[in-house]
Point group: C2
Chain length 212, copies 2
DNA sequence: CCGGTCATGGGTCGGCAGACTCATCGGATC
DNA sequence: GATCCGATGAGTCTGCCGACCCATGACCGG
């Protein structure tokens, strides 16, 4: 689980991003703050592997904040109006990544994983960076969840949207009820749960079910 | 259920906000687009009661987009650098609300509910506006969920964190298994579900369970 | 070709889940 | 004070759920 701190004076952006990252199965936002100086304080009481910092903040901007937190966290800088100049300054302060706020959420999520894994993205060319990010696009699931088969995942998806009865699951998948129960039994083992209610909750938490 | 469309060229912001609004029990984001002109197209195929539009977008800015969508949707304008000038222009184009991106998410959520309910917030003074918003801070739950009793809500919270067995629920609440089953029966009726798995999913969707 | 894994399916069995009806008691409401 | 509702609890019964064991055919990697 990657602990993430967000620093941005635009609350709407910060809270939205927080919700979005929290919905990833392998990340957890542990703090949302609205100014640069507060970042250092927050990190003292609440450690985080990765911090996402807006470069444009009032009261001592993001760059200064990054410089002061040093090695307590790895910083990813985001900017509204991304420029090469800003990128240079971010790199100089020790940031490990630099992104425009115009990039898709999936890209930032991949960057968070890459940076948490020790990668430094900021000195790479765009092609190199995208290549690295591609290897981090998928969430690192729990060991149990990672070993789920395709069919088991299918059943979990149905479970998570409320298809809970064995006969309904069997109907939807065109298999017998016996097979459904067999699959469920392996799911219970792999997820370390004891019934389909807990399995459904786990499926939602792990992001196996698509809410949209 | 309030259908919401989001138009913002900063994908990170748009997707983050989308996730955040989707996590509300009474709103659903039906589209996220990244330019002004695309808003009109999107609304033609996918109706939405409320649209959240960034005033600063390349390729014909948000103001023009709002003017062209007229009465198909009610627009709330958000801006990075909120100014009175921008607010005037938004009001002139027919927007029903105007907010800085620095406001908390809860405020925007309340605004979405207010605007969906027919309120026009843009001509109000700050005090008047906050007064109106205060009446919309709470999500309008489904009729069924709204009538849940305190005890029923307690059971749902436990269910949603994986306490699924009757005897465990009884232990945690210091009541008999019989009573647990009686409460569950009323919950099933009120939420229109048929077993505790579906109830747990509904509880999560309705925000009855606290994830953090 | 052989071993492993996956999807499919069968059988059995104990036990819990859900549906239905009812009772008591306290607090609120009128 | 009569009434309603919420919380507590009980009894009964059908049937599904979960646990355990096993079999077969397909596929894949060595």
């Amino acid at each position: 689980m990657i602990r993430v701190m967000i620093a941005d004076d635009h609350q709407l952006f910060a809270e939205g991003l927080s919700q979005a990252l929290n919905s990833l199965p392998d990340a957890r936002v542990v703090g949302v703050i609205n100014s640069g100086p507060a970042l250092e304080d927050a990190l003292r009481t609440q450690p985080a592997e990765v911090s996402i910092v807006d470069i444009e903040m009032p009261g001592g901007d993001g760059i200064a904040a990054i410089g002061s937190i040093g090695n307590r966290t790895r910083a990813i800088v985001v900017s509204m109006h991304a420029s090469d100049d800003q990128k240079e300054r971010a790199a100089g302060a020790g940031a490990k990544g630099f992104f425009s706020k115009a990039v898709p959420l999936a890209t930032l999520a991949a960057a968070v994983r890459a940076v948490a894994d020790g990668k430094n993205l900021i000195q790479l060319s765009e092609e190199e960076r995208d290549q690295v990010l591609d290897t981090y696009r998928e969430a690192q699931l729990d060991p149990g969840a990672a070993s789920l088969t395709a069919r088991e995942r299918e059943i979990l998806q149905l479970l998570a949207i409320g298809v809970s009865a064995t006969d309904e699951l069997a109907d939807r998948l065109y298999i017998s009820q016996k097979t459904v129960k067999n699959h469920l039994a392996s799911i219970f083992q792999k997820l370390a749960v004891s019934d389909r209610t807990q399995a459904a909750i786990e499926a939602i938490r792990l992001g196996i079910a698509k809410p949209s």
